[in-house]
Amino acid sequence: MGQRRSIFVLTCLVFGFAFLYGPILSLIVYSFNESKLVSVWAGFSTKWYGELIQNEQILSAAFLSLRIAFITACIAVTLGTMAGMALARYGRFRGRTLFTGLITGPLVMPDVIIGISLLLLFVTSAEWLGIPGSRGMPTIIIAHATFCLAYVAVIVQSRLSSVDVSIEEAALDLGARPWKVFFTITLPIIAPALVAGWLLSFTLSLDDLVIASFVSGPGSSTLPMVVFSKVRLGVSPMINALATIIVAIVTVAVVIAGVLMHRAENRRQADIQQALARAGYQ
């Protein structure tokens, strides 16, 4: 009986992962197709990659998106870490309920709602205060940082709640200043969460179409906006080539980050063991 169940579960896993990865594989395979008709195989070719790197519009949009994603990730990690610290370590401070609501909100709220409401904020504030003078990169960064910081806050909070608070308390008891405790104890512990949060913010920002479409101005089209306008007109092998490059970069980055984080975690555990051994616990 148990065997029959495990066969069922195994079948579900195989089909589930085929479902998740099939479309991505099809994108990669057809990016090397000679024919412009994506569905007909006409021989191996890398000509779409050549066309892609000569496309000025896509290149400049990609550069803009990368710059936006970089700044967004830095802002989101800074503010998100503060928010995660507050949620995990500050107990029941005043306004906590509203604060948790403000963190969960951007995680689940549909993009169209976030996009339209931020655009109307920018329009109203431009009318009353004169800022922002025009919409473009800064307004996209503000919009992206707002929902990315919520993701970072959740990651940092869950990391902090799995870490023993007594180490930080001990340092405080021994007279360390709170900021010193943060930089010498808390920060190294939550570093993997910060790396994960930064990378997640970077990709979320790079990936966003709907919010950027609302809050961007003329002349600042991000990569997803350009891709969307091309995809709307139909299938294009050049977009497949772009997808393949993105998948390759992401896979390499995730694997490297995973290995590095795994090593750092092992080293930390070894250090703890060593410290305990030296203190005579073993």
Binding site: L13, G130, V254
Partner: protein
């Protein structure tokens, strides 16, 4: 740039810097030190860029469209006397009630989101279960494989389905080559392709909370049930399933709420008659340029989503309490 424009620019620059100085002075007077600053910075940011915008959307939903910049009437006017005149119109909401298009779009969005959530649950539950029960070494890899698609472009993953589902796409070509179907099936640009797209895109959001829940589950409870003579499927229905309810609720909400407002998937994979509210909102805003009606559509959509969001929030708080 003309002289007048340059003067105007300088004046507005001056205004901005004066404003900045005033804000800085006000901030310095606040008792923001250490601990409270850590809460205050993200709090102010989210308040300014997440909470205040909704108030502005509400305000604009009560105004009327005009041909001007910005394209709506002001709610407050300071024409005469000390008191501002309030000019609020409920026309946009009346319009939403009268035109069946909006009703159909809201109901259709909820229907599509519900069915997709169910689909995610049916595919995601066995997967999460399988990963949670896998040996520890395989577990990390399998989990990484669930997360990895989430890191690659959402837009491009939805786009991939066009090539797979279309008239002379991958599935039709393979099925016809095998001789299973005599002519291509119509799989793209209808509700079917929208379901496939949503289930595919949101599946990781269902698997991850379910996995987190199933992984923590106490195996001894199932062993006890087995020892007492309970059949495995009955043990699953009466022990595992009820205990995994928090994971089911969290995963379902993470799929349902954003799926209701989904725009990209119905736009790329849906047919011209696939009415979803995110699409209506987009068209109202970008094509009809009717900002007040778009604002009213947004407010009603938020009201539709408030109940599931509150359920999600409660569930999260409960899980948090259990952890602490």
């Amino acid at each position: 740039m003309s002289v007048a424009a340059r003067k105007e620019q300088a004046r507005s620059d001056g205004r901005v810097s004066a404003l900045g100085k005033a804000t800085w002075r006000a901030l310095r007077r606040l008792p923001l030190k250490g601990r409270s600053a850590v809460v205050a910075a993200p709090y102010i940011w989210l308040g300014l860029f997440f909470l205040v915008p909704f108030i502005i959307v509400l305000k604009i939903s009560l105004s009327q469209m005009i041909v001007a910049r910005p394209p709506f009437t002001p709610l407050l006017t300071w024409t005469e006397g000390w008191w501002p005149q309030v000019q609020a119109y409920l026309d946009n909401y009346v319009w939403l009630l009268q035109d069946p298009l909006y009703w159909i779009a809201y109901l259709n969005s909820v229907k599509i989101a519900l069915i997709s959530t169910l689909g995610c649950l049916l595919i995601g539950y066995p997967m999460a279960y399988g990963i949670a029960k896998a040996p520890a070494t395989a577990r990390t890899l399998l989990l990484l494989m669930v997360i990895l698609p989430f890191w690659t472009s959402f837009l491009l993953r939805v786009y991939a389905w066009i090539g797979i589902l279309k008239q002379n796409g991958l599935i039709n070509n393979v099925l016809m080559w095998l001789g299973i179907i005599p002519e291509p099936l119509a799989m793209l640009h209808n509700d079917f392709s929208v379901y496939v797209g949503i289930i595919y895109s949101y599946l990781p959001f269902m698997i991850l909370p379910l996995y987190a829940n199933l992984e923590k589950m106490d195996v001894s409870l199932l062993e006890a049930a087995a020892d007492l003579g309970c059949k495995p499927w009955k043990a699953f229905l009466s022990v595992t399933l009820p205990l995994s309810l928090p994971g089911i609720v969290a995963g379902s909400m993470l799929v349902f709420i954003p799926a209701v407002g989904e725009f990209v998937i119905p736009e790329l994979l849906g047919g011209p008659d696939t009415l979803m509210i995110g699409r209506v909102l987009w068209n109202e805003f970008f094509n009809n340029r009717d900002w007040p009606v778009a604002s009213a559509v947004t407010i009603v959509l938020i009201l539709v989503l408030v109940i599931p969001i509150v359920i999600f929030q409660r569930q999260q708080a409960k899980t948090q309490d259990v952890l602490e």
